[in-house]
Symmetry: C2
Subunit: 394 residues, 2 copies
């Protein structure tokens, strides 16, 4: 291991306004940015086999795992026995894990927040659990993910200034504790995913998270305090949690360009295809969201002409693919009529195929975004993409 | 179309006792026999994409569709609008459809059987429906399956002689009506799946079904009456419906060898891996069963060492594949521990992967069977396979 080398390295190849395209080098391979990361909550991108994620149709270069879910079930000892998360699930490309904080915030019943951490009841078995910066770092080291997120506290989108400040300050203290425990775990060799890689340390990367709700002054202060600690990448958290879109873009537009240009910028939990382009135009490099997978399971397809509800009776005998502009394996093979039939009959294949198409659409959109930035026509790409979406020409 | 050519042609290449291996030529490609046919009830082999069925891991040469399910939902008009079942579902390899009779028997509430046909209530919406030899042939013509089954009446496995005789005689009369309506539909060009093929008529094939419950005299009479009508293949129905195994093998062992050697022999709805070998040894060429798919969804894997329940706590940290002798994509990539985790977490991927492995095991077993017959060591293959299965060395 070369401890003085960085854990990851971002190479920015092209810029167009605030938008930028490049390559993120990780110990498990290269990730072209801007990138969309499919969510593999409990160690599985729901309904999708890993072979499909790797195939050229999707070619997902990095997926996300949820520390909260994996920690509660199957638990760290089981994953450790399996050789870390990559080996346990059978995925050798990069993995990012969140800190668990957001799930505790959204799923954990009877939360009790203290300076030390968060006590809560497991949504699985009701047992009392305790999560802190230290525990989160220990769990993520045992998972051996390639990118680790600091343990943060997420304030509600409409939190008033004082509440948002306290939350942000707690996040800042927790970020420092996360960094310290993370560093000692790396020294101790606790990282289950360590892997030599040319020009990189082979260690996990750690990302800081900017909080502060909708208050730009708090967001700027959070960014400054996070940057002081120094991280391998910087994320914007606490958005897309109920606030208005213009508030979200106000924060992202203010904060993303202030982040270190040499480090990846990650907008957590965002978003729709339109959101991806909005984020990219403000300088974001990384996104994750459950929309393509979750909506696939509820019968909603994302297409170049907007959303399509497969349950709609108008597709009963429609022999067209979900998206006539899409070249994914689902659109090459199956009609709306067949997909509708599968969905109404309760066939698992409906979820499988809609999810596959949705991921293909998201990942393909990002391919288009990268190419347009590299070729200098991102604004045109963005305008045409948005116009097509709203054409609603199902 | 060359109307004097057969719809399908069986070429028997090797025999070993009553077991035989060959190639069944159909208008949509060749099927090596003996063959196991995965069941695609409502136009989908549950949890499996068609690309997987085609890939070398499975390489399923023929799948089965259920006339009853497809007729009720999405309905014939929708499938016709989609260009027949092959085009509607996106599968260009051979399809066999059953007649609907068995599903009415097992699913239809409030059945009323008359000479004309069967009146029943749909399990989908409770509507009153009527199925007869003529309707079944019309539906199967609209589906355009490559192999059509006559509309039969299935007596319970333990039906007494008089009840079984009446059922068998009704089946014989319905077989003749099926043949007549089928022939006129072919003349009328109602077959949605017609396809030119070298040396074949390009038409649908029609199989007769032998009934008679556990009564060998009735079975022999049923066979004689079915053969009088003349079909492209012959099936044994009404087995694996609650009778004892030795009764089933008594019937198959008596009837299969009496069937015309030049036509495929199909044992309907059977069975376990052991059953496939038992059937083959008695001269059966074709099998179908929901076991690999259904059990995959309930957490049961078929392996070379017997069944494995993935829910079992002993697999919690077991890094071995489901079957150490299996080379399918699931066994190459995933551990029992991971599959157990997926199952317990309710992840769809558990069903997908277990079903894939189970189908791979069934189809691979049949590859082994064919090879052993061709190479003259089927009895050895059968003995070793059975010994391994009962080793139960999970």
């Amino acid at each position: 291991m070369r401890m003085n080398e960085p854990a990851i390295r971002l190479q920015v190849d092209a810029e167009d306004g605030n938008a930028r395209a490049g390559i993120l080098f990780t110990r498990r391979g290269e990730i072209e940015t801007p990138v969309f990361m499919p969510v593999g909550t409990a160690g599985s991108v729901k309904g999708i086999r890993f072979e499909e994620l790797e195939d050229q149709d999707l070619d997902a270069r990095i997926i996300l795992g949820n520390t909260y879910h994996l920690w509660l079930r199957p638990g760290i000892e089981t994953i450790r026995a399996g050789g870390g998360l990559h080996r346990f699930i059978g995925w050798d490309r990069p993995l990012l894990t969140d800190s668990g904080g957001f799930q505790v915030w959204s799923l954990g019943a009877l939360r009790k927040i203290s300076e030390e951490g968060i006590q809560f009841r497991s949504h699985v078995d009701g047992s009392l659990q305790f999560l802190s910066p230290e525990v989160s770092m220990e769990v993520q080291a045992a998972l051996g993910s390639d990118i680790v997120m600091v343990f943060d506290e997420c304030a509600p989108g409409q939190a008033p200034a004082e509440e948002a400040r306290q939350s942000m300050e707690l996040t800042a203290r927790w970020a420092r504790r996360s960094r310290e425990r993370f560093d000692s775990l790396q020294q101790e060799g606790a990282d289950a995913g360590r892997k030599p890689a040319c020009g990189l340390s082979g260690r996990q990367a750690l990302f800081g998270i900017v909080q502060g709700a909708a208050h730009l002054d708090l967001r700027r202060e959070s960014l400054r305090r996070t940057m002081e600690i120094e991280f391998d990448g910087y994320a914007i958290g606490g958005l897309s949690v109920g606030e208005e879109k213009k508030v979200m873009w106000g924060v992202v537009g203010e904060i993303a360009p202030l982040m270190p240009a040499s480090r990846p910028r990650y907008l957590m939990g965002v978003g729709t295809p339109e959101d991806l382009l909005e984020g990219v135009s403000r300088g974001v490099d990384m996104f994750d969201c459950v929309l393509p997978t979750r909506n696939g399971r509820t019968g909603q397809a994302f297409t170049s002409r907007g959303k399509l509800n497969i349950k709609n009776a108008r597709w009963t005998r429609d022999t067209r693919p979900l998206d006539e502009s899409c070249r994914c394996s689902v659109c090459r093979r199956h009609s709306r009529a067949y997909l509708r039939h599968l969905y109404l009959t309760g066939e698992m294949l409906a979820s499988i195929l809609l999810t596959h198409h949705n991921l293909a659409f998201f990942l393909d959109t990002m391919r288009g975004v990268r190419q347009s930035i590299r070729s200098g026509y991102f604004p045109t790409f963005r305008r045409e993409f948005t116009e097509r979406l709203s054409a609603n020409g199902e």
